[in-house]
C-alpha cells in the first residue's frame, strides 16, 4: 500500500501546469494533502460563519436596530451555528488528526486512504449543500431561502407547515451527508491508530494526541450516528409524510429534542477533546518537561467520553421532566467536572517547575487553560436544574457555550495552527504578528463573552432580533458587538500572518521547537511517504531518546 503511494506522487515537479496541480489535489488520497484540504475548507467557512456572527452583532448593537429583517436574523443565527459546528470545527479537527496522527505513530498513511478522500469530499458536499440553500431553498413556495430553524431544528419548526420551502431539507441533507463523512473519517482514525503503529509504539507509548483522537473518533461513531438516524426520520417526515415528530398524529416533538441532544452534547466533547490533545502536545514542549500524569490523562479523557454520553438532557431541563430525570442529568453533568479538573491540574503540573517559553502557541494554550476553566464553571452552574430553569434560553447560555467553543476550543486551535505551521509549510510564522493576534483576540474575546453573561442574567433571551431600550442591556450589547469587531480584526491578522509567512517566513528546519514526537523527525513539509524507513520507538518521547542517548526515556519505562 505504501509503495504505490510513493509511485503516485513522486512526480511532484515545480514547474507543472496549474491544471495538473489542481488535478493532483482533487484526486489525492495522501493524508497530509487531505488534512490541508480539510483545514483550508474549514478556514473558508470560518470566515463565512464569522461574517454571519458580525451581522448578528451589528443587528443587536443598539435597540430597535433594523440592519437586517427578523427573517434574515433567524437565518443568520441558524447558519452561523450549523456552519461553525459542522463545517468549521469538525473539519479543522479532522484535518489536524489526518495530518498528524500517521506522522505521530510512525505510519506512511491512514489505514484507508481512499475512504479518507471519500469522507473529505462528502463533508465538502455537505457544506456546499447547506450554502446552496441560499439559492435553492425558496423552491416554488417563495418561502425564503436559507434554513431558519436554529441549529437544533426543533420540531415542529421543521414540519412542512412551518418550513414550507426546501430550506429545512437542505439543512437535513447537508448534515446527513457530512455526518456520513464524519463517520468515515472516525472509522479511519481508529483503524489507523489500532493497526498502523510503527514497531515499539505500544498504546502506552502513543503521544497523547493520538490517544485523545482515538477517543474522539470513538465518540464521533457513537454520537454522530444518532444524529444521522434522526435526520433520516426527519426526511421521512418531510418527504414521505411520516409522523415521527408530528404531534397532530400522536408523534412527539420531545423525542426529536432527545435524539438531537443525544448527539448534541457528546458533540461538544468531540470538539473539545482534540483541543485537549493540542494542549497536551504543546504545553509539555514549551514547559520543557514531559506531560505530567500520562496514564491519568488517558483515563480522565476516556472517563469524560463515557460520562458525556449520559448528560444530554441537561439541555432540556425546562421541558418538564420528572425529578428523577432532573437529578440524574444534573449529577452526571457535575460528574464530568471531575475528570476535566484532573486534566487541568495535570497541565498545570506539567508547567509547574518547567522552564516555560512564552511563544505564541504557549500563550494561546495558557489562555485556553484559564478560559476553559471558567467555561466549565458556568457549565456546572447551568447543570444545576433550578438555576437552569431561571437562565435557560438566555444570553447567559450563549455566553457559556461560546466560552467553551471560542475561549476553549478556538484558542487551542490557534495554538495548534502556530505550533504545527512550521511543520506543514516548512516556514516559521511571524512571532510579532502572532503575539499581536493573541493579545487582540484575547481582549476582543473577553470584551464580548465576559460581558455577554450579564444581559443573560438580566433576562435578555437568546435568538431575539431586537430589544426595547432602557432595560440595562443597551451599553452591554454595544460593548459585546465592539468586542466581536476586535476579534474579527484579530482573525484578519492571523490570516495575514499565515499568508505572509508562507512566502516570506524563515526556513523552519525539521524541528524548530526542539520537540519529542515523531512528526518532528522528518523534513518540513514531510515527504509524501513520511518515513523513508519505518521508525522503531522505545519510549513516549522517541526524539528525546535520539537527542539524549546518554539518558533516554526508555531507561525508565
Amino acid at each position: 500500500m505504501s509503495s504505490d503511494a510513493i509511485a503516485v506522487q513522486t512526480a511532484e515537479a515545480t514547474g507543472q501546469p496549474w491544471v495538473q496541480t489542481l488535478h493532483e489535489w482533487v484526486t489525492t488520497v495522501d493524508h497530509k494533502r487531505l488534512g490541508i484540504l480539510y483545514i483550508l475548507y474549514a478556514l473558508v467557512f470560518l470566515v463565512i460563519a464569522g461574517l454571519e456572527a458580525i451581522i448578528i452583532r451589528i443587528q443587536l448593537m443598539r435597540p430597535h436596530n433594523a440592519f437586517v429583517s427578523p427573517q434574515v436574523f433567524n437565518r443568520m443565527f441558524t447558519m452561523h451555528g450549523t456552519t461553525m459546528i459542522f463545517f468549521v470545527v469538525i473539519p479543522v479537527l479532522f484535518g489536524f488528526a489526518n495530518y498528524l496522527v500517521p506522522l505521530m505513530i510512525g505510519a506512511r498513511d491512514m489505514a484507508f486512504p481512499r475512504l479518507n478522500a471519500f469522507s473529505f469530499w462528502l463533508t465538502a458536499l455537505g457544506g456546499f449543500l447547506l450554502y446552496f440553500s441560499f439559492v435553492g431553498g425558496s423552491g416554488l413556495y417563495g418561502a425564503g431561502n436559507a434554513p431558519d430553524v436554529g441549529w437544533w431544528a426543533y420540531a415542529p419548526l421543521t414540519s412542512r407547515a412551518f418550513s414550507p420551502g426546501h430550506s429545512a431539507d437542505y439543512w437535513t441533507i447537508a448534515l446527513l451527508v457530512s455526518g456520513f463523512g464524519s463517520i468515515g473519517t472516525a472509522i479511519n482514525i481508529i483503524a489507523t491508530i489500532i493497526s498502523m503503529r510503527c514497531p515499539g509504539m505500544t498504546l502506552s507509548r502513543m503521544p497523547l494526541f493520538a490517544w485523545l483522537n482515538l477517543i474522539m473518533a470513538g465518540m464521533v461513531i457513537l454520537a454522530i450516528s444518532p444524529l444521522t438516524a434522526a435526520q433520516i426520520m426527519l426526511s421521512v417526515d418531510r418527504y414521505l409524510g411520516g409522523h415521527f415528530f408530528d404531534t397532530q398524529a400522536g408523534g412527539s416533538a420531545t423525542l426529536w429534542m432527545h435524539f438531537f441532544w443525544i448527539f448534541g452534547h457528546p458533540e461538544v466533547y468531540v470538539l473539545v477533546i482534540p483541543a485537549f490533545a493540542f494542549a497536551s502536545e504543546i504545553i509539555p514542549v514549551f514547559s520543557r518537561k514531559p506531560i505530567f500524569g500520562y496514564p491519568v490523562m488517558v483515563g480522565a479523557t476516556a472517563c469524560i467520553g463515557f460520562l458525556s454520553l449520559s448528560v444530554w438532557a441537561h439541555h432540556m431541563f425546562t421541558i418538564g421532566m420528572n425529578s428523577y430525570a432532573n437529578s440524574f442529568f444534573a449529577i452526571t453533568t457535575f460528574a464530568v467536572g471531575i475528570p476535566t479538573g484532573i486534566k487541568i491540574f495535570n497541565w498545570l503540573g506539567t508547567m509547574w517547575g518547567g522552564r516555560i517559553q512564552f511563544k505564541t502557541p504557549m500563550l494561546f494554550c495558557i489562555a485556553f487553560l484559564f478560559q476553559f476553566l471558567i467555561a466549565g464553571l458556568t457549565g456546572i452552574m447551568l447543570g444545576t436544574a433550578p438555576f437552569n430553569w431561571q437562565l435557560s434560553g438566555s444570553y447567559f447560555v450563549v455566553a457559556h457555550f461560546h466560552y467553551v467553543i471560542v475561549g476553549g476550543i478556538l484558542f487551542a486551535l490557534f495554538a495548534a495552527f502556530y505550533y504545527w505551521y512550521p511543520k506543514i509549510t516548512g516556514r516559521m510564522f511571524n512571532e510579532t504578528l502572532g503575539k499581536l493576534h493573541f493579545w487582540l483576540f484575547l481582549i476582543g474575546f473577553h470584551l464580548t463573552f465576559d460581558l455577554m453573561h450579564i444581559p443573560g442574567v438580566l433576562g435578555m433571551p437568546r435568538r431575539i432580533y431586537t430589544y426595547e431600550p432602557g432595560r440595562g442591556w443597551d451599553t452591554l450589547n454595544f460593548l459585546v458587538s465592539i468586542g466581536a469587531f476586535v476579534q474579527g480584526i484579530a482573525t484578519l491578522v492571523f490570516v495575514a500572518n499565515l499568508v505572509v509567512s508562507y512566502f516570506k517566513g524563515a526556513k523552519a528546519g525539521n524541528d524548530p521547537w526542539d520537540a519529542w514526537t515523531l512528526e518532528w523527525s522528518v523534513s518540513s513539509p514531510p515527504p509524501v511517504y513520511n518515513f523513508s524507513s519505518i521508525p522503531t520507538v522505545a519510549s513516549r518521547r522517541p526524539l528525546w531518546d535520539l537527542k539524549h542517548p546518554e539518558d533516554p526515556d526508555s531507561r525508565y519505562e
Binding site: 489505514a111 484507508f112 475512504l115 463517520i183 472516525a186 472509522i187 479511519n188 481508529i190 483503524a191 489507523t192 489500532i194 493497526s195 498502523m196 503503529r197 514497531p199 515499539g200 461513531i221 457513537l222 454522530i224 450516528s225 444518532p226 444521522t228 438516524a229 434522526a230 433520516i232 426520520m233 421521512v236 417526515d237 414521505l240 409524510g241 411520516g242 409522523h243 415521527f244 398524529a249 400522536g250 408523534g251 412527539s252 423525542l255 435524539f259 443525544i262 525539521n510 515523531l518 523527525s521 522528518v522 523534513s523 515527504p527 513520511n530 518515513f531 523513508s532 524507513s533 519505518i534 521508525p535 522503531t536 520507538v537 522505545a538 522517541p542 526524539l543 531518546d545 535520539l546
Partner: protein, 198 residues
C-alpha cells in the same frame, strides 16, 4: 529525507497489530448499531400511540420462514469463509451462492409482506405512527440486507472469474462480519416488531 535513524529495535519483540479491515468493520458496526438503536427506541416509544388504525395486532403476521432463511445464511457464510481459507474454491462458491439465495429469499419475504400490508390493509408510511415507525425500521434493515447482497454479489462475480482465493480470505471475513451484523440486527428487529410491539 527523514532524519530519524532507526534505533536498534528489540528484534525479538514480535510486532503484530490487528487487521485494519476488521477494525474498520467493527467500528462501522458500532456506528450502525447506534443508528438502529435510535430507530428501535423510536419504535418502542410509539408502540400503541397511533391515533388511527390499522394496529400491529390486526395486520402483522410473524415471518418465521423468512427469518429462518436469513439466520441460516449466517451459518452458510461462516462455513463458506472456512472453506475459502482451506482453499476449496468450488465448495466456497457453492455456499456463497446459497448465502445469497437465502438473503434474497428474505428480501422477497419482506417485499411480499409490504405488498400485503399496502394492498390489503392500506397501511403506508404516512397512514399512522405504526406505519411510519414500522416501514422505517424494517426498511432500514432491508436496505442493509440489500447493500449486503450487492457486496456478496460482487464477491460472487469475482469468484466466478476465478479471482477469489485463500489469500483473500481475510477480506471475505470482513464482509461476513457485516453479514452477521445484519442478521443479528434482524433478531432485535424481529423481537421488537413481531413480539414486543404486538
Amino acid at each position: 529525507m527523514s532524519a530519524i535513524t532507526t534505533r536498534l529495535p528489540e528484534t525479538s519483540v514480535p510486532w503484530k497489530l490487528p487487521y485494519r479491515g476488521k477494525v474498520g468493520m467493527t467500528c462501522l458496526i458500532f456506528a450502525e448499531s447506534a443508528i438502529f438503536t435510535i430507530f428501535v427506541v423510536a419504535y418502542l416509544f410509539y408502540v400503541g400511540k397511533s391515533l388511527s388504525g390499522p394496529t400491529p395486532q390486526e395486520v402483522l403476521e410473524t415471518p418465521i420462514f423468512y427469518t429462518i432463511c436469513l439466520l441460516s445464511s449466517s451459518v452458510t457464510i461462516h462455513f463458506a469463509g472456512k472453506l475459502l481459507e482451506r482453499g476449496r474454491r468450488g465448495a466456497f462458491l457453492l455456499l456463497w451462492l446459497l448465502t445469497i439465495t437465502l438473503g434474497a429469499l428474505f428480501l422477497y419475504g419482506t417485499g411480499q409482506e409490504w405488498h400485503r400490508l399496502i394492498h390489503e390493509h392500506g397501511l403506508t408510511i404516512s397512514t399512522n405512527l405504526f406505519g411510519t415507525t414500522y416501514y422505517s425500521l424494517v426498511g432500514l434493515h432491508a436496505s442493509h440486507v440489500t447493500a449486503g447482497l450487492v457486496m456478496l454479489g460482487i464477491v460472487l462475480l469475482f469468484g466466478l472469474a476465478g479471482r477469489v482465493g485463500p489469500e483473500q480470505s481475510s477480506r471475505v471475513e470482513v464482509l461476513s462480519l457485516y453479514w452477521h451484523f445484519v442478521d443479528a440486527v434482524w433478531v432485535v428487529v424481529f423481537t421488537v416488531v413481531y413480539i414486543v410491539g404486538r
